[in-house]
């Protein structure tokens, strides 16, 4: 009896949802072309970026990028706050930094060294590729977010290897880089106010040959922020605490 009631409730919800979405499927209204034509003519002279998608989210609508960076910061802070306290029994234990060094990882018996050897050799290559995607975001497909996530995967590769336990995979250092890059992002955003372009505007005059540098700077900042914050979360999820 409970089961049939449950199925009836689910079917009813689905029918209501289908009724709400169905007009989208049957409509044949043509997609408007005004924005595409405007961007085709004016994107290069207004912002200096050849990649029109980059010119939208870093030039015309940079406020959305600021909001998204804020959402990323808040959600990863929340996740780390829950993660750190998962194994804690009392209030006196400290929340320590995480590390994936092989002698501190929670191990099972009978491991091979395949993972550590291969990933420590692949890590620098992926890191270089991530920086390439980040820096060439205004000419070819890519940009801050894409390069940042690739840099995060590269840092996880480096942290899993044996020979590459450097400062780059230390979670304290990564956390400081993340906080610093958010500060630099805010400073870069307010610098437009002093050069009469409004908040988050391009401080360099549009039309000159240097006006793409602002987009490159924003790409680097966003890439560093996204990359280091996701890397800290992944290392914390995969590794053990210091002292376990």
């Amino acid at each position: 009896m409970k089961r049939t009631l449950f199925i009836i409730k689910i079917t009813f919800t689905l029918l209501v949802l289908a009724l709400a979405i169905f007009p989208v499927i049957l409509s044949s209204h043509p997609w408007p072309e005004a924005s595409r034509d405007y961007l085709y003519e004016h994107a290069l002279t207004d912002t200096g970026a050849v990649n029109t998608v980059s010119s939208i989210y870093l030039g015309y609508r940079a406020m959305d990028t600021l909001g998204e960076t804020l959402v990323l910061l808040v959600s990863i802070t929340g996740t780390m706050g829950i993660l750190i306290n998962l194994g804690r029994e009392s209030e006196e234990e400290e929340a320590v930094s995480f590390s994936l060094a092989p002698e501190k990882r929670p191990t099972n018996a009978q491991r091979t060294h395949l993972l550590e050897v291969v990933s420590s050799k692949l890590g620098p290559v992926v890191l270089l590729f991530g920086f390439y995607v980040m820096l060439y975001g205004h000419i070819s497909p890519g940009g801050g977010f894409q390069g940042g996530v690739i840099v995060a995967s590269a840092i996880v590769f480096l942290a899993l290897g044996t020979e590459t336990q450097t400062k780059l995979t230390n979670t304290n250092v990564l956390g400081r880089i993340e906080a610093l890059s958010f500060l630099v992002l805010i400073v870069a955003a307010t610098s437009g106010v002093f050069f009469e372009s409004g908040f988050f505007g391009n401080p360099i005059k549009s039309g000159s040959s240097l006006s793409a540098n602002f987009i490159i700077l924003l790409n680097i900042i966003i890439g560093l922020k996204v990359g280091t914050s996701i890397a800290v979360m992944c290392i914390a999820m995969m590794g053990g605490r210091r002292g376990h």
């Binding site: 980059s54 998962l86 995607v133 497909p141 996530v149 995967s153 992944c234």
Partner: protein
């Protein structure tokens, strides 16, 4: 081509939700992200394809595997 990819995406989604072993579902979700990235490339959206491939097949899978490791791997329904 897009219709074939959409059928495969639909099949992977159904498999992910009906399987009793959660690790199999996580791998099906990762494959779903990869097929989505392929479809974005066909539909002429290279930025979205790079983002979906890096995020869906990389970070999202790590998070799911962590969650399964700290809870149970089998589900009852």
């Amino acid at each position: 081509m897009t219709i074939l990819l959409l059928f495969m995406i639909l099949a992977l989604g159904c498999f992910a939700l009906l399987s009793r072993d959660l690790l199999h579902s996580v791998i099906a979700l990762s494959a779903l992200s990869m097929l989505s990235a392929l479809m974005f490339t066909i539909l002429r959206a290279p930025d979205v394809a790079i983002t979906e491939a890096a995020v869906g097949a990389g970070v999202s899978t790590i998070i799911f595997v962590w969650a399964i490791r700290h809870t149970r791997r089998r589900s009852k329904d």
